[in-house]
């Protein structure tokens, strides 16, 4: 669907002398929140640089908001916001002064820059602190200022490079909530990167996974999880069936369902269609077991990738594993 694309790349390749940072990457990203996930060195930041028109691609093309990154970088940067992954704030100026300056650098007249700065800092949750020098801010506050400077000129798209980096779990949830609001409340599309597999699934409408500069997957978050939705069932044992869990597993397998053992005494059944509910009910009734609970279970993205043969290095990156544990 041309016209609704926010970001479109075609065979995008970036080769540095020693590594290929992007390898024939073709993606088409629409409005909404898109998570760009990949291990460190996967090429996420390189993609952002090319999209902003700051580094030339070796091959291929990239279009942002319908404009060519290679030739219309200035026009793209006027309507796009960028939040870098590293620190970028001078410690001896206040958030207000800094964001006003950045708003003017984006082309906003003086008065508009002031007003938008006040609004934006309030939206990211920075209040009295905004008049103090930024050197004394916590990591969470600094991340908010970095986000504010990316939003202050009311861009149509923001590129957020690892915005949750260095935040504690509470700060991370707040940041993710803020990112969600950027789209739902502000109407701004978002491309957000993370090296944590499980982190962005609740925040994003669409997930793009890259590994070693290549596209691994690009699909909606819903399809990631729905495709593999399953039921988790827990039953009682009975005199006839001292191992109720085992009996149910066998019975459902007999009926042709894909059954696996879950944590504790849980039985997981692939819920391909509605028929599974009837089958479970019948199986339990036939065996004379008691149903303790039955719930819909959506796979976490991390688990999806663990099952995939070409999984991004989930197995050997501690961060990715941490994300996956938290998700299970």
């Amino acid at each position: 669907m041309p016209g609704v694309s926010v970001i479109e790349t075609e065979s995008l390749t970036k080769r540095y002398p020693k590594v290929t940072a992007l390898d024939r990457l073709t993606v088409d990203i629409g409005p909404g929140v898109t998570g760009l996930v990949g291990a460190n060195g996967a090429g996420k930041s390189t993609l952002i640089k090319i999209l902003l028109g700051l580094a030339p691609a070796t091959e291929g093309t990239a279009r942002v908001l319908g404009k060519d990154s290679a030739t219309e970088g200035g026009a793209i940067r006027e309507r796009v916001g960028y939040m870098p992954e590293h620190d970028c704030l001078p410690p001896d100026v206040s958030a207000t002064e800094f964001v006003v300056h950045m708003a003017r650098m984006s082309g906003l007249p003086r008065t508009a820059a002031r007003e938008r700065t006040a609004d934006t800092l309030r939206h990211v949750g920075l209040y009295e602190e905004r008049y103090r020098p930024m050197g004394g801010y916590s990591t969470g506050m600094k991340q908010r200022v970095k986000l504010a400077q990316a939003l202050v000129h009311d861009p149509r798209l923001v590129l957020l490079d690892e915005p949750t980096n260095g935040l504690d779990p509470a700060g991370r949830d707040e940041m993710l909530g803020l990112i969600r609001r950027i789209h739902t409340d502000f109407g701004i599309s978002v491309l957000v990167t993370s090296h944590l597999l499980g982190e962005l699934e609740r925040t994003s409408d669409h997930i793009v996974v890259v590994d070693g500069g290549r596209l691994l997957r690009s699909q909606t978050t819903a399809s990631f999880t729905e495709a593999t939705a399953s039921l988790a069932i827990e039953v009682t044992d009975s005199d006839a069936h001292p191992d109720g869990t085992g009996a149910l597993t066998a019975a459902l397998a007999d009926r042709g369902f894909a059954v696996t053992a879950g944590a504790g005494h849980l039985v997981h059944v692939e819920a391909a269609d509605e028929a599974v509910y009837d089958a479970v009910r019948d199986a339990i009734a036939d065996l004379g077991l008691g149903l303790i609970r039955m719930e819909q279970r959506r796979h976490r993205i991390a688990e999806v990738f663990q099952d995939a043969p070409d999984a991004p290095r989930a197995q050997d990156t501690p961060h990715a594993l941490a994300g996956q544990e938290a998700a299970t």
């Binding site: 700051l54 960028y82 100026v93 082309g107 508009a112 000129h153 009311d154």
Partner: protein, 299 residues
Amino acid sequence: MSTTPSTTPADARIHDIGYRSYEGERLGAMYARRSLLVHSLRGAFGLGRSARAKVLPFGLFAIMCMPAVVMVAVAVTTGLDELPIEYSGYTMFMQPIIGLYIALAAPQMVSLDLRFKTIPLYFSRPIDRSDYVSAKAAALASALFVFSAIPLVIAYAGGLLAELGFTDQTTAFLRGLVVTAIFCVVHAAVALLVASLTPRRGFGVAAIISVLTIPYFAATAIMAVADEQGSTDAVGWLALFSPGTLVEGIEARFFGGEVEFPGEVMPSAAAGAAYLVAAAALTALCYVLLTRRYRKAGL
């Protein structure tokens, strides 16, 4: 109150907590570059920064103005028929103070952006690398000019007050401003390049002082030796080897300044032409190297 009067819904103030989109003007790269110039120029005097950041620039500025004030006071009270120092000579005479100020202002202008990695925030906006470099170079040259030219304005006002002759004073004053402008443009380019090579402000200050003083004293010393040995011609040519002597040569040759070189012999016309070419070439070279340096300092 509202920046977007034509498009903001009338009830925007009621739902004040909601997000307001911006439909106003976006003034683009030229405006951004001008804003960066003004911002950096103010920063060079510590304006918009802490009170502590103002102490050194304004302290040096006070020292810079002191001789002019004294000169004027003396001229007015004792009725001299000319100022003790010519306008163009004033800038040359005050080179050490101006040099200190350059060493302070240039790193302030570029090292902080490098050190705190603010550069990517600039380059992710409409301005590009050459806009950044030209804004910073113009800001530093302007800061130096303000710093050095205001004492001349004080002296000029005093000269008029002491009724030293309007035409003479005005031509000498304008000549002084031109020499000062040349001095500022050349020195700003050199100092900014040196400052951009290190994110550490302290290193930047030391490096700029070295680059401004070592060649200057080396050139002057060799000129003295040449003069002793009777090669008066060589003295003029040796002035090419430091930015400071270069501008002194231009001042003497083209703006009626006194020759302060060892031997006090006026440089030849050929040497004079060489000064102009060298000053332009040095400035251009520093500028090209600066732009190249920022090509690598991307995100």
